[in-house]
Amino acid sequence: MVDLNVKIHDLDLKNPVMTASGTSGFAEELTDFYDVGQLGGLLLKGTTLKNRDGNAYPRMAETASGMLNAVGLQNKGVDYFIENIYPRIKDYNTPLIVNVNGSTVEEYIAVTEKVNELDKIPAIELNISCPNVKEGGMSFGISCPSAEAVTREVRRVYDKTLIVKLSPNVTDITEIAKAVEGQGADSVSLVNTFLGMSIDSEKRIPLLSTVTGGLSGPAIKPIALRMVWQVYNAVKIPVIGMGGIMNAADAIEFMLAGATAVQVGTAIFKNPFIPLQIIEGIKEYLERHKIQSASELTGCLQM
């Protein structure tokens, strides 16, 4: 019997496979297909202090082995979440992690303080990397001082597991990772989407209402994997890897590169069962290679 457990700071995951924020709604949608209690963890849709309508339609464009999105953090705000959604989902048997967003440090703090009160939310993921909002979002995650500031302030008010989600749209992601580690982040997750663009050549218009959007899917996997490997070699806190994971081999690659756990995003749109298939695939891999525990995979790339 192989051991699939992994640990992200204080957070015990029954297996290393979580679903990524913005790709698994508020968990309920996935329960239409299966029991989400099988997942290692579930990242809820990005949440802000107040209601956000998100960006105008069209919000997505297909690209080669990937897609662009410009959702722009549509959500009803943290209070609505706490009052209306949380009670319905809190007893799902998997760690539910709130993806915290804000246009200002104060907003990040306000959302965090509210979420801190929720018994069944064992961790937050601080999203300083959303490329689809005009204010805040990615702007916090692409410079060390701002990444440090928001992490420091949120750390002050949050006592459970604090994951900071990094943007790949930077020259050196290890600097940002070290900066947030220095301010008390318990873990970093990477990568968020790459800023991209699509054009309809016949109509000569951008395909997204916002012109640019976030690229995700297998197309970005080689870059995401490189970043996870770099960050793993630069920080001591656990790394959560993501970006184009479609199957167990992809997930294992991220773990070999240094990820303690992974998140599956866009793949869910193709098939919501993929996270479960990946859990099975990792188990089968460990058995076949006679490796006792999933946690042994982390960083064990042979050079």
């Binding site: 913005g22 790709t23 698994s24 709604g25 309920e28 949608e29 996935l30 329960t31 239409d32 297909f33 849709k45 209601n51 309508d53 998100g54 105008a56 339609y57 069209p58 919000r59 997505m60 464009a61 297909e62 690209t63 080669a64 082995s65 990937g66 897609m67 999105n69 959702v71 549509q74 899917g217 866009t266 869910i268 749109f269 193709k270 098939n271 919501p272 069962f273």
Partner: protein, 257 residues
């Protein structure tokens, strides 16, 4: 929320209805769940380097005794083209059943069903299911020309069939909303429409002006089809709603048209 599935269906029929529309009939290994007109499926397009995401198609027919479901696929771009090349015996992977259906009319209703382009499938499915006597159902189908219309004579038993074509080669000339039926539009208590945006908006405008109940089925671009990506939104009176879970069918009152 309702139970949804990801399943490999076997293609038992794939026939060209005309040069751009294909009927694809799919066999399930297990008993099909209830599927109502307006609901749709999200289809994986295999063997295509260019297609990454699934493609949504309305359900056209369901046979619960045979466990079959049919789609009408109109060739629009690369994904729909590839799908129509599928061979009998092949399998296709489908996420279903998705979305909310049209509301069913009441016994005393007189209804007008309007379908254009790829919107024909859900309209014909609905025609079959209204539960009304033929006299109370009018169906207008619009297309550019006679060649683009498919043969729907089987549906004459469910309602009175009318056609429009832009070139006048079948039925009345012009868009669906130019059809003479619209001169007595107040005869109808309910209008249902599915087709190109411009067509639905024209229909909605008339229904709105005349104060007639009207449901339309939208075809926004989708990434997931089951409510997790928030890409398929439509601005409504209640804010941006996902058409894949809160639609694709909307009462025009809910929309901001």
């Amino acid at each position: 929320m309702s139970r949804k599935f990801v399943e490999e269906f076997k293609v038992v029929k794939n026939i060209a209805l005309n040069s751009s529309n294909f009927l694809i009939k799919l066999l399930s290994k297990k008993a099909l769940p209830q599927i109502a007109p307006g609901q749709f499926v999200n289809v994986e397009v295999e063997n295509s380097k260019e297609i990454f995401l699934r493609r949504p198609f309305s359900v056209f027919e369901v046979d619960y005794t045979q466990n079959t479901m049919s789609l009408i696929v109109k060739i629009l771009g690369r994904g729909s083209k590839k799908l129509t090349e599928i061979e009998e015996g092949d399998t296709i992977n489908i996420v279903y059943p998705l979305g909310k259906s049209f509301s069913y009319p009441e016994k005393e209703d007189k209804v007008l069903l309007i379908g254009g382009g790829s919107g024909v499938a859900p309209m014909l499915f609905l025609a079959k299911e209204t539960g009304l006597v033929k006299e109370n159902v009018d169906i207008i189908l619009g297309a550019r020309s006679k060649e683009e219309h498919i043969d729907v004579s089987d549906y004459a038993k469910y309602g009175n069939l009318h056609y429009t074509t832009e070139d006048g080669s079948l039925g009345e000339k012009g868009f669906v909303t130019h059809h003479s039926i619209f001169e007595q539009i107040n005869n109808y208590s309910k209008i249902y429409a599915c087709g190109p945006d411009a067509m639905m908006k024209a229909v909605a405008k008339i229904a709105q002006t005349e104060g007639i109940f009207c449901e339309v089925s939208l075809e926004n671009l989708m990434a997931c089809g089951f409510g997790v990506c928030l890409c398929c939104i439509e601005p409504t009176q209640k804010g941006n709603l996902c058409i894949c879970t809160e639609g694709p069918v909307f009462n025009i009152k809910e929309l901001k048209w």
